[in-house]
Symmetry: C2
Subunit: 238 residues, 2 copies
């Protein structure tokens, strides 16, 4: 067991973007320009250079494909099945990242390849390699984690309305939430800062704008309170 043997090692980054205009969760995919799976859509990825941290590789893959830095990025799972792609056995460490589409303009180098946001409800039938599995796992993780960690705010603009926040939860959890209960819950946590501003250019009553107060969140954590959006997770929801 004490011998080494060499291996190509890849990284893939599932980039989730949320569009507050149409309340839609999207995934950023690129079109492959070389075999295998030439012409198929794929999750952005790259190879780990020995001596470089795998986390850093993920950051650079994202930056290279999208021009974006400083975003929520977390390791997801490592896919190590030798038959996940044709040819050589490539193990891939998958990550997922979150970004607000409204506040970030991506600059993929579309001169060499196509790149686009796909609505989560309208993903191409075939993805390269086992990328459908990676995507499924990333979605599962996002759905689980959003209930008990304040990662929703990574997908929103810094200023947002309560309805926008609720729509985000509804989109990701794929269930309707009760407006009054949702607001009661959020306001009781005290992690939202009322900015004293309101929306503009809407053809109805303008909503108040809030921002996520990270300091208040950490204080809440220290005091042993839990961040939880549990609505609809109880068994007696008929």
């Amino acid at each position: 067991m004490e011998y080494t043997s060499e291996h190509p090692l890849a990284v893939n980054c599932v980039l989730f973007g949320y569009d507050v205009q149409d309340s839609d969760l999207k995934v950023f995919l690129i079109e492959r320009v070389a075999p295998p799976f030439e012409g198929k859509w794929a999750i952005p990825g790259g190879f780990v250079i020995p001596g470089e941290s795998v986390d850093d590789t993920a950051i650079q893959v994202l930056f290279g494909e999208t021009g974006v830095k400083d975003l929520f990025l977390e390791q997801l799972y490592t896919f190590g099945n030798p038959r996940r792609g044709p040819g050589e056995h490539v193990v891939s460490v998958a990550y997922y990242a979150l970004i607000s589409i409204n506040e970030n303009t991506l600059t993929p180098d579309t001169e060499v390849r196509n790149a686009a946001w796909f609505s989560i409800s309208d993903i191409p039938d075939f993805l390269a390699f086992d990328h459908d599995q990676i995507l499924a796992k990333a979605l599962e993780r996002l759905q689980g984690k959003i209930r008990y960690q304040p990662i929703a705010f990574e997908l929103l603009p810094t200023k947002f309305s309560l309805t926008q926040l609720q729509r985000l939860y509804e989109t990701i959890l794929e269930q309707k939430l009760d407006k009054r209960n949702f607001r009661k819950k959020l306001s009781s946590m005290g992690i939202l800062q009322d900015l004293g501003e309101i929306e503009h250019d809407v053809s109805h009553r303008a909503a108040r704008l809030y921002s996520f107060n990270e300091r208040a969140y950490r204080r809440m954590q220290r005091e042993g309170f839990l961040f939880e959006i549990r609505e609809g997770s109880r068994k007696n929801s008929r």
Copy 2:
């Protein structure tokens, strides 16, 4: 970004064992017989052979070091920092596994190396590589997961008493639980099968023995009920 480069890839398996006699959670470690970290204790591991699934490598590492097969095994995290060990950059995919010490006799090949169970409260000060971090992450995962998935039974003999089950939760979660509430909760879930047997050779009233009813658990899941041991996780536990 479209070039490959070779890499040694390792697997490490944190094997947790539980001893029902002294209500103690333990970790299985081996003593390294070769540099680096010769003479230091380490989490069992091995290298991935190209073409072999990473999951399979983990299974084989466990079997090779302990002689045990067919146990709960789940991927934990991939450690990819180039400075996690001296010398070449070795990325390691970490797993964790659960076993009942009472029902499994391990057969490590102690002729070539030392191997032993260490109480989780008495781990050697120095572990090889970044194995202290791997262990910490594994414990964290175990503590989180045991609350909402029935993995506790992987650590117990097939027949166990309610007190033994409660002690296991108390040991892992590092908090006291209320006997009556714990029993009420478990019996309301209906996933324990009363075997109609009792303990033997105890110098006090003998406890009833139960086993985990996986069929009932799956039925419960299908009906949308949640497995949850939340005691002590509420903010108003004063």
